[in-house]
């Protein structure tokens, strides 16, 4: 399920470089783990997303420059991996697992509860207050703890629809 809300036309977003000072040093340490600079691409993209919440075209170009790649190559990699956001998302990013094992344990009701409680109109959309984006994901790898939900970096097990309002309140 891709995130479609809030598309920002390429090149018009506010740009601030990520790789300066300590962050650049940290990237240097990561590059040293691999025989090629290119191998630090996934970690570098994670660093951008951590710092900015998403990865803009301008930041992709920055990563390309730092690692000696082309912006087109970096974009090709970003678009392959579903966890990299190519558009801004809500303050909290909610990912509900709905693959078969969770599906038969009621995951669709959990998704519905998140949409209703947050006010996000549809999957991939952000709530009107900009606070929460809800998506369905394929298998989170915790099928025995259906339904697992990933809110930002917090992995929450055994979520049922009745627990959703409390969770939404927790992630303000």
């Amino acid at each position: 399920m891709s995130v479609t809300a809030h598309p920002t036309p390429a090149g018009t977003e506010a740009y601030e470089p990520v790789f300066t000072g300590p962050t650049l040093e940290q990237l240097g340490e990561i590059i040293a783990r691999y025989p090629t600079k290119q191998a630090a691409l996934l970690p570098a993209l994670w660093m951008v997303q951590r710092a900015r919440g998403w990865i803009s075209d301008r930041n992709m170009a920055e990563v390309a420059e730092v690692l000696g790649l082309t912006p087109a190559y970096v974009k090709g990699v970003v678009t392959f991996y579903t966890m990299y956001h190519q558009h801004p998302v809500g303050k909290h990013f909610v990912q509900v697992c709905t693959t078969s094992p969770c599906n038969i344990c009621g995951a669709e009701a959990v998704t519905k509860a998140f949409l209703e409680t947050t006010g996000a109109k549809e999957l991939g959309a952000t709530s009107p207050d900009g606070k929460r984006t809800v998506i369905e994901v394929e298998c989170l790898g915790a099928c025995g703890f259906a339904t697992p939900v990933l809110v930002d970096d917090d992995f929450i097990e055994s979520v049922t629809p009745d627990k959703v309002p409390e969770l939404v309140r927790k992630y303000k």
Partner: protein
């Protein structure tokens, strides 16, 4: 100890002994439990000797393919002319499987120790542990354990690094994983060359699953004969295996049993059976990529590589998905097909088009707009998706479809003939 349940008396607890024991996550706690003794010993051993011990134990890859681990290690060049690498596949994403997650979040040092021993055996100086991006909790514990163990200098000359994935099931395929480490799109590579000849960064590489490596220190400690002796049915399947059971059972979770254990006992005794008033309808015994078994096949199945094949499926990763009589099989098979359509890397036509059209046809049937000819069309599509692509993702989509139509054809026909109320798609 045990997690999320206390071990059942019929479990053979080796890998899962410290699940639920937070102290075992720490370096000190792990050493107190005898951890890293085997690594210290292994580092003084000849690599060839280590490979022999693992070969002798009969250990087979726990990621899904079941390839003999010692044999895989022996494919690495004996005379080292280039850097060697070990990649650890911790990209556990196969629906129904959640065992590696438990190993990493409860016993991270077990994986680190097994990885370092394997690295020594294949003469690798660098280990990359590729952890799927969604596994934030296992990552935290692995990262902490790695920092502690590195500070204690237990790995000798071997360097271990964690590498985070970013949401792509296909990166669990070994060559896709290597491309992903190299900073590329996770497209599987054409084989040959095989990883032992040209793997990550074009260098000789071995790639092993988390559970496989976690078993290695135990094999060294208690001996190959001990491991080989743990076999209830086929002598070709040895040791213990973690089975992740999920879906319609009373007590879902990970269960560790000796190879050859009856699936029926696992479901009805260890997992407490079906929910009240429900009966078993179907079971996927080895993760979503393997054929679906019906009730009779499930209840007579022995859990080892050969036993599951005999029933028409595969042991795979040991992810057991249980469906009771309330399940709409057509809907669940569509849901699995949708998973593969979403996860296809799209480089092979058969897979890119096949997974997408399979999903569309199944959705059409569910919507009450199917034709009887659609079943033959699905089988024809599946035939063209099997054994014709670079990796087996396409085959994995075909497996539940073909086995599902074979065993639950009446459910498909009910939708097509209008005997069942159509499903409104979300």
């Amino acid at each position: 100890m045990g997690f999320p349940h206390k071990p059942h008396a019929r479990e053979t607890v080796v890998l899962s002994k410290y699940f639920g024991d937070a102290d075992a996550r720490t370096y000190k706690g792990w050493v107190k439990r005898g951890g890293y003794e085997m690594l210290a010993q292994a580092l003084t051993m000849e690599p060839a000797k280590l490979i022999d011990v693992v070969k002798e134990s009969g250990l087979r890859g726990r990621g899904g393919a079941g390839f003999p681990t010692g044999l895989k290690w022996s494919f690495m060049p004996k005379e080292k002319k280039k850097p060697h690498y070990l990649c650890v596949n911790a990209d556990e994403s196969e629906p129904g499987t959640f065992k590696d997650r438990e190993i990493m979040r409860w016993t991270p040092h077990a994986l680190l120790e097994g990885s370092a021993i394997a690295a020594h055996a294949i003469q690798a100086e660098v280990v990359y542990i590729y952890i799927r991006g969604e596994f934030t909790e296992p990552w935290t514990f692995m990262d902490r354990a790695l920092a502690e163990a590195s500070a204690a200098k237990v790995f000798g000359p071997i360097k271990i690094y964690l590498h985070r994935g970013a949401g792509a099931y296909i990166c669990g395929e070994e060559t896709a994983l290597m491309n992903s480490i190299e900073g590329k799109r996770g497209n599987p590579r054409i084989k040959p060359p095989f990883p032992a000849a040209a793997g990550v960064f074009g260098m000789p590489t071995t790639i092993n699953n988390v559970e496989t490596l976690a078993a290695v220190p135990h094999i060294l400690k208690q001996g190959a004969a001990w491991y080989k002796g743990m076999s209830l049915s086929s002598p070709k399947s040895t040791g213990t295996k973690l089975f992740s059971v999920c879906g319609h059972v009373q007590k879902a979770g990970n269960y560790e049993v000796t190879m050859g254990f009856p699936l029926k006992d696992l479901l009805y005794e260890l997992c407490g059976g079906m929910r009240p008033g429900r009966t078993l309808k179907a079971c996927i015994p080895g993760g979503s990529s393997v054929p679906i078994l019906n009730r009779e096949e499930t209840e007579s199945c022995l859990l080892d590589y050969e036993g599951v094949v005999e029933k028409g499926s595969m042991l795979g990763s040991g992810g057991v998905i249980v469906f009771d009589d309330s399940t709409d099989m057509v809907y669940q098979i569509m849901r699995l097909a949708r998973f593969y359509a979403h996860e296809s890397c799209a480089q092979c036509t058969q897979c890119r088009e096949g997974t997408a059209w399979t999903t569309k046809i199944l959705e059409r049937i569910l919507a009450g707009q199917g034709k009887m000819a659609d079943l033959d069309l699905l089988l024809d599509l599946s035939e063209n998706m099997t054994g014709k692509t670079i990796c087996v993702l396409s085959d994995s989509c075909a497996a539940p479809v073909v086995s599902g139509i074979k065993r639950f054809k009446n459910e498909f026909e009910d939708y097509i003939a209008g005997r069942r109320r159509p499903v409104i798609m979300a």
